[in-house]
Amino acid sequence: MTASALLEVRGLDVEFTAPDGTLTRAVRDVSFTLDRGETLAVVGESGSGKSTTALALLRMLPGTGRVARGSVLLDGQDLAAADEAELRRVRGARIGMVFQDPMTALNPVLTAGAHLDEVLRAHGGRDKAARLARAVELLDLVGIPDPERRLDDHPHRFSGGQRQRILIAMALAGEPDVLVADEPTTALDATVQDQILTLLGDLNRRTGTALVLITHNMGVVARACERVLVMYGGTVVEDGPTAEVLTRPRHPYTAGLLAAVPRLSAPSGTRLAGIPGAPPDLSVLTDGCAFADRCAFTEDRCRTVTPPLVTLTTRAASGEGTVRVACPPATSRSAPLPAAPPPARIDRPRPGAVVLEAVGLRKTYRGRGLRGRPLTALDDVSLTLAAGETLGIVGESGSGKSTLARVLAHAHPSDSGTLRLDGVDISRPSRRELHTVRRRIQMVFQDPYASLNPRMTAGQIIAEPLHAFGIGDRSRRAQRVEELLLLVGLDPSAADRRPRSFSGGQRQRIGIARALAPEPSVLICDEPVSALDVSVQAQIVGLLTDLQRDLGLSLVFIAHDLAVVRQVSHRIAVMHRGRIVETGSADEVCENPADPYTRALLAAAPDPVPPARHREPRSTQVPA
């Protein structure tokens, strides 16, 4: 609590009231300080309260949310008690905000210049010419090339990364002391994410604007911020210098989270350590540590007493610092918690004969409108998949990987090319052939919320393929559903519940059980973990690799995160603009990439190992 603190949050509580009167305490007793020019990351999984905390700073809480207790002091002025007029003077002028989705945050009928002009006018820019000059300056500051000309362009003329840059320029227009960025790179590709993080770091150094970066990604934390605040279940569990927290975590949750993050440096076949269980339900108010149910070090007091944040002094190489930790077992011990066991290896049998083979696949989508240009999603894609093998497919958005998944699973037909299953041509199957093919090739989808029919119970969803393929009678099917639920690690009693009563990870398990129901030999997984939290992602990845070993499945594992793909895959294919630019063994592709695009992808992947201080910003240009 230094006197120079720019922003000081004390005992902040945020509550939401459900229509039926249930109270959810999304943020509980959160305290932290932010110094001038500091970069602070707030990291946590979904439901940890990180975004709510950020929104509560400016009292921009959605719906029924309200600040129930606590204060937010900005240079001594309490924003939690300020009236709307005072808040308006602070918003944008002293605290700027950048949100997650750059695609929807800009008004499509206004030009970039109009967006900036509006903000500048709100901040008292009276002279039109001066506003224009400032708008050009701001676009230049955030690295939009040729700013004078681009002022007149509408949002659709900018890429996702450029739109995020414009939003950052808008947030900076009022020359705020603090820039709050809520998951600013989550909707962006890795190479663009890298550029935006570099930009935020640059801006912090050049303008002295303090940065609060909300993220779920440990790699982003390591890449962009000096200090990190780890949140779980609406509370701060650990707060300290990034280098200290990420290398010597004190709180078991931080340690678990770090162990669960896939490392790009780990060789293929390394098992990820997940955190068992699911995040807590915040509407059930309890005393005690929110993490107690998932923690390996839980003691009796953890369940009865809400752990206070205890300040500890650390002696890191960079000098003395302080870390705050909310974990009595960890703080009453002198040494840090025992380190996680070294990552286990997955023992997997060698791949067998080729099961699925694709030669020269092409798929073009019709352009929109009369003069719409057709979009080539797949351009001469060839690949093979052996029995018991995992083929990882990596690429950024728009690279055609999801289209490839759907063509391989016969959800969409290809325009040309050949697909062979066990040597039999299945490119243009008849209705009956398609039925047999579908029994052999099943698919796991990206979004565990959208891919389960909300009107059906888990049991009905899993039994649906059994029904479709006419497998078993009623009682045999019920028995098989039970087996499948156990196989994916769910309780058989789950069969009677509807998808909405499951967590994201549990839903994905149901999706996997459905795919396994007709006993397929090939499983196409289209971004199966990208919608899940890191600690749950590790569970699902572990489940898929175990299933592969036990059932001899061939997996096509599609993801944008190279680190996950490396660990589950035998071989990796890198996709770029509808083509496979590089194929090779997983370790080979990650360590000795041959294609410049693969190299750019590897360079952009954020690694949760804190980098050396003050290194030169990297430039990762994607080759055209």
């Binding site: 690690g489 789950a494 007709p518």
Partner: protein, 287 residues
């Protein structure tokens, strides 16, 4: 299944997932709507018990004021009991809309399902809907009556015909939206036949807006019936309907306002109540 720890069998649903329709009717809006609609419906259903007179019996008391002994709401220009004409009028109206709206909804949904089978069929069905929608409701009513003559059947047909495109379009939109959802793709990849994907997966997720539309259509039906009777192309006199009684009362509006009051208040209550219920359902479903 070695290393991963089994998660706890999911938490029980926090709030018992109350059925949205029931929740809608229990909301303030829904309650007021029901309070307006239910008495009218009851009056229609119990008409023979409430009336006390035949709606067509004439007495020598013409245009008696409300409160006249034996005639609670007074009598009309021909000395018929207005209470009897009102409750029997409600009964006739309810009979018509209870037949016409479900008929229109059913046919509309069938056309929407038909349209979902193939883009060419879709185009044909959509143009047919355009054709029906191109006629203003009353012109359609006059045209149908010109062919079939006035009576109960033409009213039912006109209302049903007017509702078919509304339901058809709504369900078609729902199907088009739901068909692109990932669970529909998952069902197809899971081997389900197109018919099964449509009926088992897509349809149950696309029907909610139809329930709202039914409440809206009931309101529209009350209007159409009233308008047709008012213009004299509806149910034939002396059989009372709300529109017919209202039409009859027009010349006496200055001298005997009570003549028009009954049907006016009833139609207002029905339309307002049904609109409130529709809105309540809509809000609950969209949550």
């Amino acid at each position: 299944m070695t290393a991963i720890t089994l998660p706890a069998p999911g938490k029980p649903a926090r709030r018992s997932p109350r059925h949205p329709y029931r929740a809608a009717l229990a909301s303030a809006r829904g309650r007021v709507g029901l309070a307006l609609v239910l008495p009218v419906v009851l009056a229609g259903v119990l008409a023979p018990l409430l009336a006390g007179h035949s709606p067509t019996d004439q007495s020598d008391l013409s245009l008696a004021a409300p409160g006249t002994p034996g005639h609670l709401l007074g009598t009309d220009d021909l000395g018929r009991d207005l209470l009897a004409r009102l409750v029997y009028g409600i009964r006739a109206d309810l009979g018509i809309i209870a037949l016409a709206v479900p008929l229109g909804a059913l046919l509309g949904c069938l056309f929407a399902l038909l349209a979902a089978t193939h883009p060419a069929v879709d185009t044909a069905v959509q143009r047919a809907f355009d054709l029906v929608l191109a006629f203003p409701g009353l012109i359609l009513a006059l045209a149908v009556t010109a062919i079939l003559g006035p009576g109960r059947l033409p009213v039912v047909l006109v209302i049903a015909l007017a509702e078919i495109p509304a339901f058809g379009r709504l369900l078609r939109t729902g199907i088009l939206v739901e068909r692109e959802r990932e669970y529909a793709t998952a069902a197809r990849v899971g081997g389900a036949s197109p018919a099964r994907v449509l009926t088992r997966h897509i349809l149950p997720n696309a029907v909610d807006p139809l329930v709202v539309q039914i409440a809206v259509s009931l309101t529209v039906a009350v209007f159409i019936e009233g308008a047709m009777s008012f213009l004299g192309v509806g149910v034939r006199p002396p059989q009372p309907t709300l529109g017919a009684v209202l039409s009859q009362s027009m010349p006496y509006l200055a001298d005997a306002p009570h003549f028009a009051a009954g049907p006016l208040i009833t139609v207002t209550a029905l339309v307002l109540g049904l609109s409130l219920i529709a809105e309540a359902l809509n809000r609950e479903i969209r949550r």
